[in-house]
Symmetry: C3
Amino acid sequence: MNRVAESLAHAGFALPDAPSAVGMYAPAVRAGSLVFTSGQLPFADGVLISVGKVGATVSEEDARACARQAALNALAAASLVCDLDDVCSVARLAGYVSSERGFIRQPSVVDGASEVLHAAFGEAGVHAREAVGVVALPLDAPVEVSLTLVLHEAHDEKSTPDV
Amino acid sequence: MNRVAESLAHAGFALPDAPSAVGMYAPAVRAGSLVFTSGQLPFADGVLISVGKVGATVSEEDARACARQAALNALAAASLVCDLDDVCSVARLAGYVSSERGFIRQPSVVDGASEVLHAAFGEAGVHAREAVGVVALPLDAPVEVSLTLVLHEAHDEKSTPDV
Amino acid sequence: MNRVAESLAHAGFALPDAPSAVGMYAPAVRAGSLVFTSGQLPFADGVLISVGKVGATVSEEDARACARQAALNALAAASLVCDLDDVCSVARLAGYVSSERGFIRQPSVVDGASEVLHAAFGEAGVHAREAVGVVALPLDAPVEVSLTLVLHEAHDEKSTPDV
């Protein structure tokens, strides 16, 4: 078991199986030392763990659990194109919360995703984040999370060969 | 005609004229090997091809056509700062869908943009994407699309000069 | 006083104190030559300068002032991880506008943030941007702004050492 999976397990989180590619887009794409994931929904074992709008049929606590699950799925997606043990920081966490008019506690919901990054990477999991309330998400999911991860650059890409 | 324009034409798509700069922001910005476009609306010949909310006055099929057009405009925007033939992958496609409460088929709409990337770049057009439902978009557009493209790095930036 | 702070002051803008870190996420993260800020709200002296939805209780002009303040806060956030005088361009400005159904002048609102970038960086402040209308933002803020800045790469990272 690699280091990140072990840290997650220690915090009580299980890294899901990596999602399979979905036609014209991919769960994650690597560009040099950056990894961009697609927006991930709170699927567990193929089923959304909640559906509906936060502040209406979905409670803040259930939504936070959705953010946790979506973040775990985002890490699983990233693991398709990089070794998670090579992550040195997280450039961006975007948390979209399907919000009932009047629900303004998006940060409390997206904290669920931040917790997962902290559990996975410790200090390296500190990240910039955007938390916004949207009117609807795919499949009526309460939360969608995407990540931009930063990898340690391979040393041989930086060094100048002996001549 | 360059390779990407040819591939698009082969799939029945025409690369629009590049948009002109718009005051304080630009259609696209290049940062090293990444190109970030501004959010693009479904303009064709200076007019939005649809207006309104998807799931209300705009059908899913019309919205998909909007996503196609916005993606073409995003490629045209990118072409102002790079040669599209140098694109090696697409890091991020953000698809914002102006959604009536209850409309949850954003992925089907954003597929229109994904189709354009596939037509333009083939395998290199596989991308990470975010599809979200927003309450309103500029000028009442049904869809807004932005892209982050990845370019082949110039070989002379990587090679070590002979000494 | 550094060059950017001086340019802002010349345009009548004051760079706020940098925000303090907020637990599991950071005001900004640097990844090589890119700086990603968290989404910033229009706080001034610890208080949101407006709350509510644009097009309902918040006027377009007040919302534009919010976008200016949020952009200033984003620059202050970025200054925690880089010297703003090293910024050579702005890859992405995301402007989320908490919008009443029917409000479609998000670009006019986000222009407030673009003005700040122009004042701070002049030509180097030209940026790609996304302006979208969302249903709700944290703490009922009318506007949230995040930035991705591009830094001049340090010369010693590029040069090949003498051998």
